[in-house]
Each structure stands twice: as C-alpha cells, then as structure tokens.
C-alpha cells in the first residue's frame, strides 16, 4: 500500500469514527433526563432570542430532522451560544483550540523524543545500577498523579522558589504594552508554558522510556544486529543506525495508543495551571452546566485526538517500509 492510499484509508476510517462520536453525543443529549431544549438555550435569554436560537438549532423539529440540523450545524460551525460567556461557542473554541494544540503537541513530541533517546541509553547499560534506578524512577514518574504533581510544581517553583508565573498563559501587562515585540511575547508564552509542559513531560516520558528500553533489548537480540556486528560496525553505530530505528517503532505505536490518555492529562494540566485551552474549557463548562460549550469542546477534543492518531499512523508508515508497500 502506498503512503497516499494509507492516508486516504485512515482518513476515511477516522471520519467514520468521528460520525459515530457525533451521533453518540446527539443520542446522549436526548436520552439524558430533562429537556434537550433547556440544555442548549440559556435560561437567562430573552424569549425572542431563545426562540430564534431554537429555530436555528432545529430544536423545534421532529427528532430525525433535529439530527440533520445538528450535523449541518456542526459543519457550519453553529454550536449555539455559551451560557457563561454569552458569546457564540465557535468563537470561544477558536480562541482556545490553538493553545491546547500548542501544549499537547509539544508535550507529546518532547516526551516521546526524550523517551526514545534515554531508553536507548539505558538499554545499553542493562543490568548496571543506572538501569535499575532509571527503571524505578520511570515507573514512579509514570504513576505520579498528574493534578497533584501540577499543584506541587506550582507550590515549589512558582510559590516557594518564585520566578515562574502562578497561572495563565500570558502576562497581561506585557501584552498591553505596545512596545513589546513578537519576540518578547513568544518568550512570555514559553515562560508560562514551562511548568505545564514539565508536568506533562514527566508523566509521559517514563512510559516511553520503559517501552524504548525493552524494545531496544528485544531488538538487540535480532539477527540483523548480529549481521551489523559481523560487518565490523562499532557499538555506537549498531545502536544508532540499526537497533535504534527499529526499536523506536513500538514507541510510536504507544504514542498513538496513549493519545487519549495524553489529552486527559492535558485537560487536567490546563485546569490546574489555568492554561486557556479547550480541555480546561470543557471541564469548566461541565462544572457550570454550560452544555453548548461542553458539547463543542468535547467534539473538538475528539477531532484533535483523531487527527493526532492519523499523524502517528502516517509517521509509523513512514518509519517502517513494511507498512508502506
């Protein structure tokens, strides 16, 4: 199978999955006790506004037509109005989504790369004390309770030591100042991102490291490693040219499988650090019964996970020619 074919096939599969999720949510909204209309329309609205919104969302139509409206509204970006913000949901999502993608992708990529790199090193020192210690530390990191470690970081780095912002993504006074250029602003975001990123990194890197370690050990007993050794390659060349690329394939698979786990962690991290992302928005909306916002946030989080899945699949096919052809 060529790479294009693979992408097309996986995209179609993902589209189907997305439709199932979309429809599942519709069903849940109508199965749940209570009135679906009151869930989508802010009780504080004026009756005229409410009526307009109801007809826009098709909530006055028979059920099957409501579904058609629902799907159509999704693709035209009409998710209703957020109760809390009093603004169209699509605007809120549009602002929050990039922040989530920034934090999510950088944490996944960084932790996977670090896991691969360190796992390779540790496997090479199998049986030595460093191996045992790194293994145990990785296990501990992997099972740390994320919100707690986030709170702990805020307490230690931002409160006790200082030098780190307690919350948010930007320093308002810097952004208000017309003199601060794009460079300063980027630096400011990175400064705010450091602790959330570190939290997610620590939670993820351990498991990737352990997978890389054991996959590396398995790879080292493969026949082609013997070939490489017989060819006269030194140990470093064997590790980096032959064992490493093959051993990192299971890590890529595991990144794909743990994407959902990562987005859970991302939402928790955003909440504790008040990072203005879509995951925090979902948790906030759910806590405040802001259903239109909750629904749309969930759908967009699903889209992020699905697309990330596609990217991981394509990456895997790119790294492993056996899948590609």
């Amino acid at each position: 199978m060529s790479l294009q074919k693979l992408i097309i096939r996986r995209s179609l599969e993902i589209l189907v999955i997305f439709f199932v999720i979309l429809s599942g949510l519709f069903l849940l909204f109508h199965l749940a006790p209570g009135d679906p209309v009151s869930r989508m329309v802010d009780p504080t609205m004026t009756p005229e506004d409410a009526e307009l919104l109801v007809s826009q969302l098709g909530l006055d139509q028979p059920l099957w037509l409501q579904y058609v409206y629902y799907v159509k509204n999704f693709f035209t970006g009409n998710f209703g109005v957020s109760f809390h913000y009093g603004r169209p949901v699509v605007e809120v999502i549009g602002e929050r989504l990039p922040n989530t993608i920034l934090l999510f992708t950088s944490s996944v990529i960084l932790s996977a790369l670090a896991g691969i790199f360190w796992g390779k090193m540790v496997a090479w020192h199998k049986g030595k004390p460093v191996d045992t210690w790194v293994t145990i530390i990785s296990l501990v990191c992997h099972t740390l309770f994320l919100p707690w470690i986030a709170l702990l970081f805020i307490w230690i780095f931002a409160y006790k030591i200082g030098g780190f912002p307690l919350n948010g993504m930007i320093s308002p006074e810097l952004w208000m100042d017309p003199d601060s250029g794009i460079f300063l602003k980027t630096l400011d975001i990175m400064h705010h991102m450091l602790l959330p990123l570190l939290t997610l990194f620590i939670i993820h890197v351990g498991s990737y490291l352990l997978i890389m370690r054991s996959s590396m050990l398995e790879t080292l007993s493969e026949d082609y490693i013997l070939t490489a050794r017989a060819k006269g390659l030194n140990e470093k060349q064997i590790r980096n040219r032959h064992a490493g690329p093959n051993a990192s394939l299971p890590v890529v698979t595991s990144v794909g499988l743990s994407l959902a786990f990562s987005i859970n962690g991302g939402a928790l991290t955003e909440t504790v650090f008040t990072w203005p992302g879509i995951g925090r928005e979902l948790i906030f909306a759910v806590s405040n019964n802001d259903y239109p916002l909750a629904l749309a946030s969930f759908l967009f989080i699903s889209i992020v996970v699905l697309i990330a899945n596609l990217v991981v699949d394509v990456l895997y096919a790119f790294l492993d020619p056996r899948i590609r052809y």
Binding site: I21, L139, W148, L151, N264, L268, A294, F298, V305
Partner: protein, 304 residues
C-alpha cells in the same frame, strides 16, 4: 479420572510456585507487593478512628476545638482540614475507596475485555472486525472527559456508577490482547479435538480457551487497577466524585479549592503521595507478573 485431576492440580500448583519464586526474585515486584501490603493495612485501619471518637469520622467528624486547618498535633497526627476534620482518618478511608474502585472497576473491565476478546477471536470474520473497530473507537476516546460529560448530563454520579463507567471505557486494550491469544489458541489441535468431539462453541470458549487466556487477563487487571484509581481520583479532584465518600482525589480538591495548597503542605502532600504510590504498587506488580508470564522478557537462559 480423579487421579488425573489431582496430578493436574499439583502441576498447576507447581507452576504457581515456580512463577511465585520468579516473581519474588524481581526487585520491582517485591517493592510493589510491600507497598500494596502497607495500603491494605491502611484500608483495614480506616475502621478504627471513628470507633475511638466520633470526631474522627472522615466525613462528619469535626473537632469542636478546631476552626481552621491545623498542622499535625497529638490529637490529629496529620492535622485537620479547614473545618476541623481529621486528615489521617480521611487518608485511611481513602485507601479503602481506592481499593474498592480500583479492583472492582478493573475486574469489570477484564470481564468485558476477556469476553469480547474471546468472542472476537473465536468468531472471526465480521463479528471480529466489528468488535475490534468498536474497540478502536473506544480506545481513542479520552475516558476521563467522557465520564465528565456523562456526569454533567446525568447528574451526580455515585461511586458504583463511576466504577461502571471506568470499566466501560477500559476494556479495549485487554480485549485486543485476549483476541490475539484466542486467535493463536484456535489453531491448536486440542481445540479441533474438542470441536470434533462435539463440544459446543460456548463450551469451547469457556472450558478450553478461557483457562488459557486467564493469566494474561489477570495480568492486565493489575494495570487496569492503576488506571481506574487514577480516573476516579481525577474525577474527584475536579469535583465529580461521590459526595458521600472521602477519596484521596477529593482531599486534593478540598486543599486546592479552599486555597490551602500554599499554607498546608501537611494537607497537600499525603493524598497525592498515596495516589501515586498505590498506582505505582499495582503497576510494579503488573510488570513483575509480566516478566513471569512472558518468557521472552526473562533474563536470557541462552540456547546453546
């Protein structure tokens, strides 16, 4: 016949002992087991404080002399929260809840996962691909966020609903493994023999396949305990726990929401450490079991 079963039993017993000695040789497994024993002891001890004095009840017991969060003292070994409840008795009760949630959710998810995996692997064809597609779909769903959404739609969740929901979102990983095992078992001669002998599909699945996939299912159960405890703690932390019980996640929520996280490290640290360590304990046990069950991971007993 009875002799045969007895020898089979002693064989099973011997294999168990062998596995146990391998497990016990493993440092990671030993640490995990010791940690787990400590938590087990905590769970058992959680019944004691309320008996000593009703003010030590984790939910309703309030020390009448305490009006704000206090650091550890003789009366409250770990201190109190902001309304004067004893943190130690909350922590002990938390252990009980963690075991309850972790083990029951994990058990349910391996029941679902094993059943679906065996059916998919044994039936093959359309059933297989439909079930596995379904599993794929659940696997890409962020379970914590789904449960959150459900709880907002269906109202406050009690602990058993939370357990059930966690189980419902945590079976696909297990079912994939069990399916793969079933597929390879299906090719073995003894399954054919059973089929020729006239055993029904149900009988083959439960009498011949189930016993063979059970060790793997148990292994995955330890990993599922870990994820169930984490999901429950995260839910409680976000304020969606069962309001009738104390859990470690809830303790963290209280310290966070009441703004005590900078002032009361004696309140912030213990629940987080407990959640992290109990998940670590189960995870370590799982890894050690994995090494016992999967000979490929064992230290090389090199072929000559």
């Amino acid at each position: 016949m009875s002799k045969e079963t007895r020898s089979q039993k002693s064989y099973t017993w011997q294999r168990f002992l062998e596995g146990w000695s391998l497990f016990y040789e493993n440092l990671v497994g030993r640490i995990g087991l010791i940690l787990l024993l400590v938590f087990g002891l905590m769970a058992v001890c959680s019944y004691i404080p309320p008996l000593i004095d009703p003010m030590y009840h984790p939910m309703t017991g309030v020390d009448p002399d305490v009006f704000r969060s206090t650091p550890p003292s003789a009366a409250h070994w770990l201190g109190t929260d902001n309304i004067g409840r004893d943190l130690l008795s909350q922590l002990l009760t938390g252990a009980r809840i963690a075991f309850l949630v972790g083990i029951s959710a994990a058990f349910m998810s391996i029941v679902f996962g094993t059943l679906i995996g065996m059916i998919a692997g044994y039936a093959g064809r359309l059933t297989d691909s439909l079930l596995m597609r379904f599993a794929d779909m659940i696997m890409v769903m962020p379970s914590l966020l789904v449960v959150l959404l459900l709880s907002s739609l269906f109202g406050q969740l009690n602990i058993w609903i939370i357990v059930l929901l966690i189980a419902l979102f945590r079976w696909p990983g297990i079912s994939r493994v069990i399916r793969a095992q079933t597929l390879s078992l299906k090719e073995r001669p003894f399954i054919d023999t059973a089929r020729v002998a006239g055993a029904s599909n149900l009988r083959i699945i439960f009498r011949h396949i189930l016993p063979n996939v059970l060790p793997m299912a148990l292994l995955y159960m330890t990993f599922r305990v870990t994820s169930a405890i984490i999901v429950e703690a995260a839910l409680a932390f976000l304020g969606f726990g069962d309001p009738n019980t104390v859990s470690w996640g809830m303790m963290l929520q209280w310290v966070w929401k009441t703004g005590h996280m900078f002032q009361a490290p004696y309140w912030l640290l213990p629940p987080g450490i407990c959640i992290s360590l109990i998940t670590l304990a189960f995870y370590m046990i799982g890894r050690a079991m994995e090494e016992v069950l999967d000979p490929r991971l064992r230290k090389e007993e090199q072929k000559v």
